[in-house]
């Protein structure tokens, strides 16, 4: 890639925090370092990955609204985690976490267990059990 061709697409997801480094060639084909603020295909691919995450979150909100799922499911999806990951943070097993995504089991959780989940998602226990805010979102 010639250093003149290093993409500088304004439309990017870097929030001005990041200008990635590229190695590009000068006129004679020798390599120099050039910064790039963004490139369209990369942005598209990343947006696409986030769309999947956002869709999952939306589905989870819908389930919580209908009373089919507990807030735990919403927070798992929001933090892009899997049941197994949450389980290893909370010191339990994946299928237990799946059970706790069902309101019946979630409502019977001890304070200690709730605190563990809240710690996993870096929130307070009150936020974890606050169904109304999730329903509104």
């Amino acid at each position: 890639m010639n250093k003149e061709h290093v993409p500088q697409d304004q439309e990017n997801l870097n929030e001005g925090k990041l200008a990635k480094l590229y190695y590009a060639t000068d006129e004679k084909g020798h390599y120099v370092k050039v910064n790039s603020i963004g490139w369209e295909p990369e942005t598209v691919a990343m947006q696409q990955a986030w769309e999947v995450v956002n869709d999952d979150v939306k589905d989870a909100v819908e389930l919580v609204r209908r009373g089919k799922a507990s807030p735990l499911l919403y927070f798992i999806k929001k933090n892009i985690m899997t049941n197994a990951m949450v389980a290893s943070y909370g010191g339990t097993a994946g299928f237990i976490v799946r059970l706790h995504c069902i309101p019946y089991f979630f409502n019977r959780l001890s304070r200690k267990r709730l605190e563990r989940y809240a710690y996993t998602f870096r929130i307070k226990v009150e936020e974890l059990t606050d169904i109304e805010t999730i329903k509104k979102s």
Binding site: Y22, Y31, P41, E42, V44, M46, Q48
Partner: protein
Amino acid sequence: MKVNFAHKQSAHCESGVVSNLLRFHGMDFDEPMVFGIGSGLFFSYLPFIRVNGIPVTAYRIWPGQVFKRFSDRIGIKIERKKFSSPTKAMSELDKMLDQGQPVGMLTSVFYLNYLPAAYRFHFNAHNIIVFGKENGNYLVSDPVMEYTTEISYDDLVRARFAKGMPEPSGRMYYPVKVPGEYDVESAIWQGIRQTSDHMTRIPMPLVGAKGMKYLAGRLRQWPERIGNRQAILWLGNVIRMQEEIGTGGAGFRFIHAAFLDHCSAKLKNDKLFSISQQLTKSGDQLRDFAYYAGRVCKNRKSDTKTFAELGDMLEACAQREQAIFSELYEVSRSK
């Protein structure tokens, strides 16, 4: 406490960390040198390992190997530690900083809040250097960032003890002994030989240039096999792995080409320069592939024809790389 540490931005996290750490210890290796001697370039398509249901594509060797190979070839002794307790890990870090030793470590990108939000997925093998502590915050030299940044104690603990695959477990490392004398030339040839060997001569269909060809073949069938929506998601993942921080496929071709370019100047070998130019072309081709694939993802139309065309493009890349690295292997074998 703050160590007098010179930060230089790099394209890839692992080779950047090694380069920055060694500069602190008085050994001047540029990022492409580290990447080339450590044989970082590779390709593998692993359909039996799925992340979020999407098969893994990697344009590089797995994390940790670049550093290992590089230090073996140059003869650097490295101390590596891993911890079970966060408090112990952090106090050990403080101890090293007190001694004036910058420390490299593995972290999860999800908890590094100085990065743009869009990049913060759960990727647990990002390398950073911590080189000081001020007002309770740690000073971080993240090789992909232009400038040094800070991170709070809590976030650093989270990042070092993130869960999921692979677990960083607070891993940290620093060189304890750097050699006074070393043979760069032989290290360079070892690096080149291993890279080209792995790209062309491993008798398995999923790795090296063969892996690219295999992926091209599979990619053509995706729309029929898994449906439009999934096919586009999978394609998006292939580009993401190609272009995102620390994994960029075409970027790696350029780093390796830069390495060959530097070597040709250092060893006065014109052959390496001409191969470097060919590799540049291969990198450009991969970028073209990403460009068209990006278009397909954006328009969300995946008729079989576009996927067939993309497969052809990728196969052309595979052929070119097969030729380049076979030639490189022949050159390096005689050294």
